[in-house]
Amino acid sequence: MPFNSFRDFMSRQDVLAFAVLAVLLIVILPLTLDVMRLNQAGKFLAFGFVAIGLVLCWGYGGILSLGQGVFYGLGGYAMAMFLKLEASTPENTSIQSTPGIPDFMDWNRITELPWFWVPFESFTLSLIAIVVVPSIFAYLIGVAMFKRRVSGVYFAIITQSIAAIMTILIIGQQGFTGGVNGITDLRTLLGWDINTDFADYVLYFVCVALLFVCLFIGQFILKSKVGRVLVAMRGSEDRVRFSGYDVANFKIFVFCTGAAFAGIGGAMFTLQEGFMSPSFVGVVPSIEMVIFCAVGGRLSLVGAVYGALLVNLAKTTFGEAFPELWLFAMGLIFIGVVLGLPNGVAGLYNSYAAGPVDKVLDRLFGSENSDGLKLSQQGATS
């Protein structure tokens, strides 16, 4: 156990934040929203995974990736490929020239399932691919970039280009990927209809459960030594390097973690939406993902989830109420947040609410000061 006590793992405020989020997602939303809105909330939460990953990479590691959509897409496509193969039984596709392969392949005159589709006939391999493929891809990018000490703006630009390349690749190779249409018409998961109201409920709770798994992993990383090295690197990379740490390896690790989270998010999105499309992979969605993180607060894991929920909620609400104006409204929100709330919603909480809440907690449970002292001593000695 790398922690001396539970307090080292989660402060009182952390526990409170996790608990409030849990109550909101597990109790309040399912009770107040009808199933369609809950399904929508589930899809917003799928972006929450990416935002959590970005808190680790960007907020703590200082690695601004403008290509998270790539990993989100890899996870989403891995899930979609499995579901598509399940939907493309020879009986369902009997009107095609080649029955038994996905419909878009048939339209593109492909007569045999391409080799890289074959593993996705297995559910287990698909689940592994959802996490492993984005991680491996992130590892390759990480090794290529961080070992050469590419960082900052250059890294952001390169990830952005990778997102652009990925979109072009997917759209261009439509016989293998479904092209601009994406992979559509996904119906069942291991024979279980994913389009029913009941399935919407189940998938929502699965999504919330996985989200908390990722939140705890994130918390674990941040509070462990790795997290401290990350913060130190963000402050002064060279000093950490001269202290004998391999900076690149830490960066690669956190970048891969973010990619794996994004992959899980993409897969959960595919399940809840019923299709996957290249419009989640490109530059614009990747930037939107960074904005979710920024709005929520890039130093707060829980804040990132709120960011994904809030921005998507605003996007949907404005989109439905003022179809002609919503883009402008979105723009105004972002400008407002960047100018007014540099640390996002979580920053707002820390500046105004954290103090009073602490006092209330003190009154209820006694002072936390002794623990706080221990923590800072530990920080100084390590």
Binding site: V35, Q40, I168, V180, T184, S279, P323
Partner: protein, 423 residues
Amino acid sequence: MDKSNTSNRAKGLSRRGLISASLTVLAAAVVMSSGLAVAKPATSEVNTTGLAVTDDTVTVGILHSISGTMAISEEGSVQAEILAIEQINEMGGILGRQIRYIQEDGASDWPTFADRARKLIRQDKVAAVFGCWTSASRKAVLPIFERYNNMLYYPTFYEGLEQSPNVVYTGQEATQQILAGLDWVAREKDAKTFYLLGSDYIWPRTSNKIARIHIEEHLGGRVLGEDYFPLGHTNFNSAINRIRLRNPDVVYAIIVGGSNVAFYRQLQSAGLDMTSEDFTLMTISVTEDEVLGIGGDNFQGAFSAMKYFQSLDNPNNKAFVKAFKERWGEDSVIGDVTQAAYLGPWLWKAAVEAAGSFDIDRVREHTPGIELDTAPEGYVRVHENHHLWSKLRIGEAQADGQFKVIYETEDLMEPNPFPAGYQ
């Protein structure tokens, strides 16, 4: 609009009128005070599945992109659908109910289309949706319409290979648009060699596949080349050079969106003059809307093959064009898809009235065989496969951005989304 239906309803009314006249004044007063006009069937009769139908209104959805890259193309469809709904309301609505519409923005983003479709169907409980434009957006919403059983009226000419019980395809599928046009160009221009071009996605690829098979196996011609370009591509010089080298009788182009502007300008500046007898270009992707962007001068002399042109000379179309311009401004132009979108609400109205109900299953049951005498493109009828029987017309592009219709098929062509021998 649909005369037979209106007269049927009138008969029903008069019968009902007689009955109510024979009732006591008190009974009549009860009927009046309950807020029901004697003329219309009770809501419980016409809506047994909980759609958004009240005693006075019925709610439908309009789902197009009004932001993003597709907005410019889909705007005409939105305008046409709103115009049709307003005209139907002026005539007294459907089954005595005024149509209310909820407009959602698909934002040129396929997942957003799916999201909004879900909202319209599940939350707003609309009785029908008029919308979508690109195949990608239709593919994204299709499972939702099938899963929650609702009707989509889809206006765009498209690649076929689809036949959903929950969609009415008011544009042409690929064979309707392609075969007769190629026959015409082979006959009139004595064309033997063809060069196929297209934007790189499913509609141009499928269409060119059908065109190639028709050229090679039915017309005895040859395809000298087939090139595809990414959406939004703007540099066509190398393709144009290949065309000049191989010198085909006909260039068959299915390029969409903004790429058109670059393609036709570069063609012009490369000296390939479409107004001369030596060079023939046929397209199935350029309507009056696209010519606005390309510029009439750059497109003059090209042949478009589709079912509708704004210049079509018939009384229905004259009335439609006049009404459209009165509603949306003198400068508006009307392309093929806009007209097809206009048919949506009218086809739905006719099916609802034939069914005597807004229930989706009943409407669907009565959809095949629905006829419209008053369509701007002329008479249309819905096929068993939910596509329309329609004519193909060839328009020669004029410098003012309009088309001169120089040919139309004698008969309506049967829609055939799964053409045997062309797959």
